[in-house]
Symmetry: C2
Subunit: 227 residues, 2 copies
């Protein structure tokens, strides 16, 4: 019954951030075979003695590579087939995380020679990736963009206090399109997840910009229609 053996499974995390005005993904250059020398998503095996569940395993991988513990993270999709790994039929539980780039310290992994941010162009980076990681990155970028159109998620990429132009810029950078300023302000007011920081304004060239923060206790909220 060798063909009914449980396949090898891994965890991979697509860690996305905004840096220098662009959506970027964290990649590591592999030191070991297979795909030695290629760039790949950070990932690893499940540690049954240590990981309470799949989400905990993904959080452990994220923390080990970035030092970040509490970003937005969710399960993306599982990918499994007989082609993605030359060692045989394998499956990976892919997660995606969205982190503020100033919150992290990059760390090299045991299996990696190098770690770096790569700019997303379209839904890809400009280097071939190990395994089926190119399709996993593409799936994560699609998921992020579809979520961003319907949620307050981008607010979690900003510092605790920010202006509406700051927030609009984050939406625009992730979605890759410009938005109308007054329509954007109207949608944010309707969604009602922000509150002004009383008495605090940021000096600006013409008039001071009001600072806002996410209302207490509000996680990511879902809009009833697209932004």
């Amino acid at each position: 019954m060798a063909e009914f053996l449980s396949p090898l499974v891994t965890i991979d995390v697509v860690i996305l951030t905004l840096r220098e005005g662009h959506l970027q993904v964290l990649l590591m250059r592999r030191g070991a075979e297979p795909f030695a020398g290629s760039w790949a998503l950070p990932g690893g095996y499940i540690h049954p003695e240590e990981d309470a569940d799949l989400d905990a395993a993904a959080r452990r991988v994220l923390h080990a590579k970035t030092g970040v513990r509490t970003p937005f993270m969710e399960q993306l999709q599982a990918f499994g087939d007989g082609q993605r790994d030359p060692r045989g039929w394998t499956a990976t539980f892919a997660y995606f995380a969205l982190v503020a780039s100033d919150a992290m310290v990059l760390k090299e992994g045991a299996n990696a020679e190098e770690v770096a941010w790569w700019q997303i162009k379209g839904k890809q980076v400009e280097t071939p990736l190990a395994f089926d990681h190119a399709r996993i990155v593409a799936a994560a970028v699609s998921r992020l963009r579809s979520k961003v159109e319907y949620t307050s998620l981008p607010a979690h990429l900003l510092p605790p206090k920010f202006t509406l132009p700051d927030l609009q810029k984050v939406y625009e950078q992730i979605l890759g399109r410009q938005m109308d300023k007054s329509a954007f302000r109207k949608r944010m007011a309707e969604a009602a997840f922000l509150e002004p920081v009383t008495g605090e304004k940021r000096p600006a060239s013409n008039r001071p910009a009001q600072l806002y923060r996410i209302k207490r206790g509000r996680g990511t909220i879902f809009f009833d229609r697209t932004i």
Copy 2:
């Protein structure tokens, strides 16, 4: 390094249908331990020699239990932890399928004594389920309802030709709420995925009802806002 062994993984399929005006889920009574005698989702192991990928494994499980090959099916979520199976740390790739109930023949599985449709009440069935299958059923019902609000998915539960009242009834049964007839007709017209079957009407008590079909080549389409 025993703690780094790959965990046992399975496939489970939440097969949903509309029968007798209610959303129902296919369950099998387990013949073997663990949870012998309890109802459970149909599922099994991946067969690396036979299954090209995870989706193919889920289609094989679905076909083996129902005889149906081409329903709406997609990956739901992976569930994995040290508690769900008394045998140790396991994970399952859960899928959900939506099938027309007249298209299938129920078959018993090797590990099952009995197979039956169970009515969904809220997001549960009225019997304790094996493993963590109750939470998987709840997740599938949530996913189905959120999809139905934004897609033409329910049209695939009907025979090839149907009336608009037939379609409205399917939406109402899945969502568990009544809908306004004229607003429903307006949304269907805007979504533009149906076409009238020329010259064919179904006799009705007052005037014959126009028959419609899904436009050729249209799979499930996504609406730009909720139904």
